[in-house]
Symmetry: C2
Subunit: 358 residues, 2 copies
């Protein structure tokens, strides 16, 4: 019992200590200065299936400097199509969220989207832990710790690697044509951007190759993930949006709220019956400069039809256009922008308003 008592004592000391420091310090402390009482940190893979390869030639390879070459037979059984989930669950006494928050990333990225920002400041994972939510951060099929499979034998097409120029323009750090290899020559929008431009190269280290042929496997894994851990609230970004909307259509009893950050696609309301989503509150958040990037002009319009269709059938769907509220300069990666805490607080306020958090 000694070590357990030690930890409990440390927890009490830590709490008292933090309290004094915070009350004696500045009046508005940054979230990073709060402690979080964690009950459990863990991870798992979900989804996927076994596939078998045969008929491929053997190769001889050296794996570690100084080691003898090993003959490698690429044929055999593999697990493919799984996704990776990591969770941090709070002690019940400090939990304010009614359901866990599941954070789903966008295209060419991984769960790192939600962690520390590329400028080193705390991101939304930290914010929502400190706001009292159990937070789950995942890597979709083919990305990050979900791993990927041989192509074209298992994944049908070849991977796509995003260039820095594409990231710069697609994520609306600057207007088309404003990227330069030399960081000193890159141009942001005339009005400025909230993205921490000095950390743009650091941000591109987060990029993960993607496939255009894995949507069905990705959706299947997300659906199994929902069955495993929900009821829950989904916070989703960009390419993840369409997966989340479809996950909600397939398991409306499991999804208690959806916060969609600049979703890039949605089910077509003229072809898909959305009535199953009637009881689920939706929040859509859009940043700035949507009219300066064709893809986002189009996505924003497509999603406006989706949002209106939800509202017309009586679904509680809210759209926040940040510029209309006087919040200017947000990129597509608004969870990494300088004002990310301010936007997270709007999400938190919405969660409270919808009865999803204290």
């Amino acid at each position: 019992m000694k070590s357990i008592s030690g930890i409990v004592l440390a927890a009490m000391l830590a709490s008292g200590c933090a309290s004094q420091q915070q009350q004696g310090g500045q009046s508005r402390m940054p979230p990073a200065d709060r402690v979080v009482v964690v009950k459990e940190v863990g991870s798992f893979h979900v989804g996927g299936r076994q596939m078998t390869l045969s008929g491929l030639p053997e190769k001889e390879l050296v794996f570690s400097a100084g080691a003898a070459p090993r003959r490698v037979n690429p044929n055999g059984d593999f697990e493919v199509g799984q996704m990776y989930v990591q969770y941090i669950r709070l002690d019940a006494a400090s939990r304010k969220g009614r359901y866990p928050l599941l954070m789903w990333h966008g295209g060419g990225l991984s769960g790192v989207t939600w962690e520390s920002k590329p400028d080193g400041q705390p991101g939304w994972q930290s914010f929502f832990l400190q706001a009292g939510h159990d937070v789950y951060v995942s890597d979709a099929v083919e990305r990050g710790r979900a791993s990927w499979a041989r192509y074209p034998e298992i994944f049908e097409t070849e991977p796509v690697f995003r260039t820095k120029q594409e990231a710069w323009e697609l994520f609306r750090i600057g207007p088309p044509g404003s990227y330069a290899t030399d960081p000193g020559k890159r141009q942001v929008f005339a009005q400025g951007t909230q993205f921490p431009v000095e950390a743009f190269d650091q941000f591109t280290k987060q990029g993960i190759p993607r496939w255009a042929s894995n949507d069905a496997a990705t959706q299947a894994a997300y659906d199994q993930y929902v069955q495993k851990v929900c009821p829950c609230v989904i916070v989703v970004h960009s390419q993840g949006g369409n997966f989340a909307f479809n996950a909600a259509l397939r398991a409306p009893d499991k999804i208690r709220g959806v916060v969609a950050i600049e979703p890039s696609g949605s089910p077509d309301p003229e072809k898909v019956d959305l009535s199953a989503l009637k009881g689920i509150p939706f929040l859509f958040i859009w940043g700035d400069y949507l009219d300066r990037a064709t893809l986002w002009t189009r996505a924003s319009q497509t999603l406006e039809r989706f949002e209106k269709a939800l509202q017309q059938q009586g679904t509680d769907a809210t759209r926040i256009d940040l510029p209309k509220l006087g919040v200017h300069g947000n990129s597509h990666m608004l969870m990494m922008d300088r004002n990310s805490d301010e936007i997270a607080q709007r999400v938190q306020n919405w969660l409270v308003a919808k009865g999803l958090s204290r």
Copy 2:
């Protein structure tokens, strides 16, 4: 201040609550039932450099169901050769470790090695957090959230995908020839194995493709990682061993201890001056059945020479052969074996004995 006070109060309540439950319950609580007071959860990428591709043909691809095709130009600038690091730092009052523990994974795997075990039980990340250490878990270059780069243009060779059969034999779940596609027909060693065999397929979902041509980039990223966060203690597995030993040779002032779990390689003591390692305590841990897999028979012998060379020059190097202590059945993945907590406790005891933890 309201929300901060709320969290501090919750922390105190949580602590008291946990204390009562634990003292009223069974005499030996599993680690998962302890709370951990966390100061900061974060992540970053370290290392890597910009590379530029040119002259590759454009392609047209559809990225989301229903979206218009996009013309993709694969040429441009990329960040390559970085690694990914995630950390959980404890509140100072509950910290017992003198330095952060950096956990480095082995070949064809990622930092997931150290997280929850494939059978869902808590792994070494949890164990060492609960033992009072700041824990850093990383994905080396090319693996998981570190991402990977186009080949052969950037990574020079092609990736290698580990089959289930290779994992079964190489990680010593069962003897050579004992793997079968049908889980019911797979054979473990006659004496049994500590690996949770029923979770073997789940374990193989953790596998990540590897390259045989990235050792220099991997070492460079590890070296930068050490410069960024150390002084530290490294806990390293298998392929990671050689990277850790070299990192210690390059920055002996930064490394305060190395715990090597079945390292697969080392600098050759007949060719490399190891005197810089004199002040660093080393612990080597070896599982069972080393004589049943050629690679491990050889690696164990190679490492024995390395361990002896360290001892002969006066380095504090300890070798634990678990079977010699009466601990039988451990696989190569001993941090996932059923008795993983027991082995972690031996590591913790060693850390305390070397003044690296209270």
